[in-house]
Symmetry: C2
Subunit: 385 residues, 2 copies
């Protein structure tokens, strides 16, 4: 644990000094420590658990800073961004693998792995720069949540195809449940929590009851999300959002503390999965490069196009913000591998794509958001004063 946490922070510090986002350093720490380079650590259950908790708290923290009323206002744009941003990468991924001569199901799985955006990375960058209140940031967050629901549907469809039986009722039901879950929590969660939290809290006698309450709500929604089929982090994000207007500073501070401890494990965990086998044969290396370029370009163009009506600057920001695939792409690839739908080399290529897009996004975000950064709390007050 010391090794993971220490080296993550060390590389983060190093990259900050080089003028790059520290988050990239933490992922690189995983790549360097992992089987690919030093082979000092490999993914274990312990790291997996800490990583899962880390990304949960990361999204919970982001949710706490988002007002659902604002998010619903930009819902239409976000839906367009998410939809175009799902279609373009899917077909591009499928087309490349088909041109490569891969079997139909493998091409479809790679397309599916290129679909889902990992909102964690972008959220972390935006939140650390105090940019979460920007219109473009809000659209990225909303679009990433919708993206996850769409990604779930694609995955359900694709796994059905791999099993050889597509069940339209199952897909319809999954879609209905996922949409209902997101819409219900986003729309009425805040009001419900606004009524419940102060009342319950006033009657609680246990110490730090408010934080305990928030955590219970977080765990409940995350579980519910998993049960429905969307990622746990969607539940965590919605839980944070629903509580955003009803919990005090103390809960925020406590959440930040927990996230600070756990998030590095999530970031290092992403880096750990890079498989050096990809770089052993020139042909897979070439494919990896092509898939990576396609992954970068397709989300950027797809989401940027969807956001075009907002003007060039915001379209650029949204296009870049949706690039990282992170752990979501890896989950799809793992499923495909487990179902025998994709081969080991292609699995390596997809993981490489997921990690590389994740590392590429923070520096790009830094460029497109140049001039908008707000220094954190204390500095801002000083400057205002």
């Amino acid at each position: 644990m010391l090794l993971v946490f220490g080296s993550a922070k060390l590389l983060a510090e190093l990259l900050e000094r080089l003028g790059q986002p520290g988050i990239v350093g933490e992922i690189l720490a995983g790549v360097i420590l992992g089987p690919g380079v030093l082979a000092w650590i490999s993914p274990t259950d312990l790291l997996k658990i800490l990583a899962d908790l880390g990304v949960m708290f990361l999204l919970f923290r982001v949710g706490l800073e988002v007002k659902p009323s604002e998010l619903l206002k930009i819902g239409a744009t976000a839906t367009v961004v998410a939809t175009v941003g799902v279609i373009v990468p899917f077909f591009l991924g499928w087309a490349i693998l088909t041109a490569w001569g891969a079997p139909r199901i493998e091409a479809i799985f790679v397309g599916a792995a290129m679909v889902a955006t990992s909102v964690g990375i972008t959220a972390q960058v935006l939140s650390s720069k105090g940019l979460l209140r920007e219109r473009s940031s809000q659209i990225i967050l909303a679009a990433a949540v919708i993206d996850d629901v769409l990604g779930l549907l694609v995955l359900t469809l694709v796994s059905g195809m791999a099993r050889g039986s597509v069940n339209p009722i199952e897909i319809g039901l999954t879609a209905l449940m996922a949409v209902l879950f997101v819409v219900l929590v986003a729309k009425w969660g805040t009001r419900a929590m606004g009524r419940i939290v102060p009342r319950v809290q006033a009657s609680l006698r246990v110490a730090e009851g408010e934080f305990a309450l928030a955590l219970i709500f977080l765990f409940t929604l995350s579980l519910l999300a998993i049960w429905i089929g969307v990622a746990a982090i969607v539940g965590a994000f919605l839980a944070g959002m629903a509580l955003a207007e009803s919990v005090g500073q103390r809960v925020r501070d406590f959440t930040n503390g927990t996230a600070e401890l756990l998030v590095p494990f999530f970031l290092v965990g992403i880096g750990l999965h890079v498989d050096p086998g990809v770089f052993r044969t020139p042909s897979t290396m070439a494919l990896a490069a092509i898939v990576l370029l396609a992954a970068l370009a397709s989300k950027f163009i797809g989401c940027g196009l969807g956001a075009w009506p907002l003007g060039r600057a915001d379209a650029l920001r949204i296009g870049v913000g949706m690039i990282p695939r992170g752990e979501v792409g890896m989950v799809v690839a793992q499923l495909g591998l487990a179902m025998g739908a994709i081969s080991q080399p292609i699995y390596g290529v997809v993981v490489f794509m997921a990690v590389a897009t994740t590392i590429a996004a923070p520096p790009l975000l830094k460029i497109v958001y140049r001039g908008l950064e707000r220094p954190e709390g204390a500095d801002e007050i000083l400057r205002l004063g």
Copy 2:
């Protein structure tokens, strides 16, 4: 996770309403959910990891509230308390088991399991009532740390006997290292951190660098403690103490947040280990009752005697504060079981003793500290204002 966390907080709330410490509720939640009663959950790796992290952060948090200069002042008294509090329970445990007809090595192991105090429980109770600054509280904390070092020596000795070879050099070396570690960190840790932390922090560019630094220090000392042979929590406590005067409120808030999340897993984890098999035969039930009474009485009398010069009230408080055996007694019992030195029924008896002393301590503490409780932060200011 939801089940563990939720039910822990629910029972804590219930017991607070009944006028009992919430901490007892969280341990009872473990007993009820565990194999003994409902059998809904059993100890898993995940719970174990979260529990270990929980007790680490618990002791780190307590350390952050303790000034080493104050602790060193009461060092002599604490050493007496710890020493008498080790000798009395050991011989009583050994005598009972010998009278019971147990083999010599088993009697010695049970004696060893009755030695070490689990400071976590007492620290949690005292800290939640704002009593950590009391003289008696400081003595309990210091004595518990010394206790742990003495317990380590007893355990080294006892495992040597179980293996059939006692190595005096090994024991001397272990003793030397453990004592050096504690004394060095307690005496110079604060000064070193007072110089290092502000300097390093000023040059850090990474976000929340101070908390990251504190965590790295915490992990390092915990690892060092394990490597030397004392419990990780001793390292965590010392790390907190060394940082107490050099870190800001933000690090404290973050630590509190992490502890609030993780500590319930530690408490539930203790309860989970109760083995209902103990209550199956009347003879082990009788033995369990006798061992429990001896465990309660021996620490109370031993530590109370050691603290007698401080007056009746403080002697009483210190005697009660040293009662809980918690996870430390269980570790000794597990080791004995693994080495074949103690049998399954006796293991059950020791675990029962460890859990029962832990549950008994908080209500007793409440009684002996009556009238001294200080409500937390905000209330105090209001009353002073």
